[in-house]
């Protein structure tokens, strides 16, 4: 499949990004959505897809965010937001929840990131700044544990620097674990011998190649 370039339009909105990630998650998968932007993918999962959501604080079969009378302080997602329970849900303690990750039982996780390297390293837990308070949560367990680690992030930081890099400069979360990166302008396969651009929005592979510090290859 050659690279699909959607040049007749602009970059993806955040909602469209979430929908694109959801589109690519296979039916029947067990999936963990990281806190922040990845959480929004849940709203776009296909009805009847058989996808089961795992939340690291101890549940399979997590439903949508809870509102009104459905709010229960004993039922939250990893971001501590009240959520709901779907039929067929199961609860388990923290050691079991993370055994599921490390043991390779989760099919997909979606994480946010500060940086991803061409080789599939991810940095998403610590800026390394002297006054920063490091907080890792389950990010390292997820990055190292899920069979398929997808990253969802803007391609450029607020200062304009690229977040897809030859080598991460922020402290690493995981080494060589990311398979695919979803951004507002392109989808990249990483972690292989070369970075492959699968799809673009509002730009082309050739144009991206001039803006990124890593060599890019179109899909065959």
């Amino acid at each position: 499949m050659s690279t699909v370039e959607h040049v007749e339009r602009g970059p993806l909105s955040r909602t469209e990004m979430a929908a694109i990630v959801a589109r690519d998650i296979p039916d029947g998968s067990f999936v963990n959505l990281g806190i922040g932007q990845p959480t929004s993918v849940a709203a776009h999962l296909r009805p009847g897809s058989g996808i089961t959501l795992h939340t690291e604080n101890g549940m399979l079969g997590m439903g949508p965010e809870a509102h009104g009378d459905d709010v229960d302080p004993d039922l939250t997602n990893a971001g501590k937001v009240p959520v709901t329970e779907l039929p067929g849900a199961a609860y388990f303690h923290q050691a079991d929840s993370f055994a599921m990750m490390r043991g390779g039982h989760l099919d997909v996780c979606v994480l946010g990131a500060f940086q991803v390297s061409a080789g599939g390293d991810i940095a998403n837990w610590h800026t390394g700044a002297p006054d920063a308070i490091p907080a890792v949560g389950g990010a390292m367990d997820l990055a190292g544990g899920a069979k398929d680690v997808l990253v969802m992030m803007n391609l450029f930081a607020k200062d304009g620097s690229a977040k897809l890099v030859p080598t991460c400069t922020y402290p690493l979360t995981g080494v060589g674990c990311v398979s695919r990166v979803y951004t507002e302008v392109a989808i990249f396969d990483v972690g292989g011998p070369e970075v492959v651009v699968l799809e673009t929005w509002g730009t082309t592979v050739a144009e991206l190649a001039t803006r990124l510090p890593v060599p890019l290859h179109p899909a065959d």
Binding site: T55, P73, K80, A95, S97, A135, V136, G138
Partner: protein
Amino acid sequence: MSRTRVHAGPDRAAAADAALAAAGIETGSTILVGGFGMAGMPVVLVDALIRHGADDLTVVSNNAGNGDTGLAALLAAGRVRKVVCSFPRQADSWVFDGLYRAGRIELEVVPQGTLAERMRAAGAGLGGFYCPTGVGTLLAEGKETRVIEGREHVLELPLRGDVALIGAHRADRFGNLVYRRTARNFGPVMATAAAVTVVQVDEVVEPGELDPEAVVTPSIYVDHVVDLSENPAGVESRA
């Protein structure tokens, strides 16, 4: 050998104080505190720990306090020397943030699954385990490593508490526990990993009223139960 003691009475705080007095908390103790955010957080027990007055504590918990109550109040009271946790920084963790930036509290950050598994190892009598999480990161620096089945692992050591403070939904008088939803989180693991486990529950029932197939934490791990129900009928106060 010890049987679980139930602490109950019209004054919940007094019942919690009695449980903590019996738990043997001392200056310098390591306290495992359950909860993920506020879900499963044993707020009544943490408040009793503040009144207890022990200081120089090491606290092991997933987070480092929210807002100004519970764990955050314990930190603000200056009782904690060190926090071992996975995720201290949150929108409402200003008490911890202030102490950390002022250099008044030590922090050991542990990946969440490793935190849970280190306590599981302590409770299961293991000397540690080789774990792939964190390999190649700052959190693996200085740790012994070993390649197993072609993959690098780091040696993680057991994490043991002197006392665990956890929340559960219901207990029977023997100390068998069931939890509610994601409030289960660290409770079952912490109950195994401490020398003494104190649990606050919404209700205490008679032995036989909990389905034995559904018991999550068997009574062998539980030393003190504090009954928070409005009318702890049928349960004699032993506070």
